[in-house]
Amino acid sequence: MPLMEARHLEYAYAGGARAICGISVSLEPASLTAVIGSNGSGKSTLIRLLAGLLRPTSGEILLDGKPLDAWHPRMRAREIAYMPQATMTVFPFRAIDVVLSGRTPHAPRFGFESDRDRAIAMEALEAAGAAHLAQRSLTALSGGEKQMVILARALAQEPRVLLLDEPAAALDLKHRAEMMRTLARLRDTRGLSVVMITHDLQLTGSLFDRILALRCGELAAQGRPDEILQSGLLGEVYDDPKVRTARIGDQTMVWIDK
């Protein structure tokens, strides 16, 4: 049985066109899945549906074979973590406190977090490469630093499914590589299943197990990176016939012809 499964998902925003049309996907444990597609193709909507933030207009999402809606929110929060594209925090919370709040589904309802929770939060900050930011205010951090802290918070949740909406967008090369190494390690050691939206196709070539390519709210293609990263297929996905790819070793180069 797959860890998570979406069947015939449809979603339309109020008064707007359909954002997701008939998408069916399944997630295996211990896997890294990239979601690619042009802007407005429905990537974030798909992730938000999987996170339970939006309810599908029709179709269903199952976690461990049980509909997402049937899970108690607290129990579901122990299984699925979500990291938004941007976190607009107004109040100057300390980074460590934000990460600690990721322990909420595991902590007693009216109590404070335990020493164990604190240790897990620090571990998560280290894993996200943000241990040095622990005592800083979230509002004083740069976009990339803030993303690292929010990633640490999702890791502190100790989920089985991690849904990431463009986590690498604001990260420099070093931190992007570090983040991918951490995710791959958690996949291998804890069986974590990661779904990550990315525009960095170079990244997807060698590091991901699977790619979902979206186009106009539909699943245009899904498969292994070497199956998806083809000039013709990417040309269709991005609606640009000049997209080119080339395989160099285990890396795939993607560029657009003049």
Binding site: M88, L100, F112
Partner: protein
């Protein structure tokens, strides 16, 4: 965080006790505490006037501050306070109408002016929520904006009523608008506490959810918070609490805005500390402001709402200069 909570509660309880002692000791009439029980004048003055007034100040101050802290977290907006919901304006309009129409009667022992004020506050809260609702969802931004506009429209209506009312009613409306803790006897405070204490406890019980909401709405949902239910419950509780305080004490500004920020500055952002801290400091701040109002002039007294504004406004601006980390003021 547990240690921070204990520290905050210990320090602020001490501040509260000192403030209460000062508030009980000062006033335009000197009370001789040595002869308090034997002298009937002192006894009446203390037990019928001063003690109820201080208790009223504690209750209203705590209520305004704890709702201010809750609403700031709920709306993720450091400028939210009990009055940005439009409740104060609605309450003022209800009371002004009752005063101008000369409704001096009481229903079940409660003056009609209070009832009219409470109803006005509740109507305004319901109206604001209705405007901000889209389907099943209440948009926080729209809630805040419609609250501010309903407040302004209500205040314009109050001004109109004041303009056409007779001078005596007009003066009464003014006194009410500025806010006052005048109360005779301890019973009204008792009634208030019966209504307010359960609401305080409920808000404190929601502090963890509010903490997650203050950071980010989406991740609060994925961490197990039922955001819509939490919003409905907190908004309803705050409307009720502010409705009762506005009906009893009139419009007392700035407590709900400034006190939560002061607690944050001292003890950090965690709502599990900020909410109980605001409850204690709000109570202390209002009784101190009232004590100052009662003793500032050689004869007569200044209304407490004017003192909170005069003290709270500059203090808030000072805080704003010190804390520039707020990104969306």
């Amino acid at each position: 965080m547990r240690a921070t909570l204990f520290k905050a509660v210990a320090i602020l309880t001490f501040v509260l006790l000192v403030s209460t002692a000062i508030a009980l000791a000062v006033g335009s009439q000197k009370i001789d505490f040595a002869t308090l029980l034997s002298d009937p004048v002192s006894r009446t003055l203390f037990f019928r006037l001063r003690l109820p007034r201080v208790l009223m100040g504690l209750t209203i101050g705590a209520s305004l501050a704890v709702t201010g802290a809750s609403l700031q977290a709920l709306f993720r907006n450091p400028l939210a306070d009990p009055y940005t919901l439009g409740i104060s304006g609605g309450g003022a309009l209800g009371a002004s109408l009752a005063i101008a129409l000369g409704w001096g009667a009481r229903v079940a022992g409660v003056p009609l002016v209070f009832l009219a004020s409470f109803l006005g506050a509740m109507l305004a809260a319901t109206l604001v929520r209705g405007i901000a609702r889209t389907g099943a969802v209440v948009l926080p931004g729209a809630l805040l904006l419609s609250g501010v506009v309903v407040n302004l429209v209500s205040l314009a209506a109050v001004l109109t009523i004041q303009y056409v009312a007779d001078p005596n009613s007009s003066l009464q409306i003014l006194r009410w608008m500025v806010g006052s803790l005048d109360v005779i006897g301890i019973a009204p405070v008792g009634y208030m506490l019966v209504l307010l204490v359960p609401a305080w406890v409920a808000l404190l019980a929601l502090s963890r959810q509010l903490n997650l909401l203050a950071i980010d709405e989406d991740t609060a949902t994925t961490l197990g918070v039922n955001v819509h239910r939490c919003e409905t419950v907190v908004h309803t509780l705050c409307s009720l609490v502010v409705g009762v305080t506005v009906a009893m004490g009139g419009s007392i500004g700035f407590v709900g805005l400034i006190v939560p920020h002061a607690v944050r500055l001292m003890f950090g952002e965690d709502l599990r500390v900020v909410l109980p801290g605001s409850l204690l400091l709000g109570a202390a701040f209002l009784v101190l402001a009232d004590a100052l109002g009662r003793s500032a002039l050689p004869t007569g007294e200044l209304p407490v709402g004017a003192i909170t504004g005069l003290l709270g406004g500059p203090a808030f601006l000072w805080l704003l200069r010190r804390r520039k980390q707020y990104t969306a003021m």
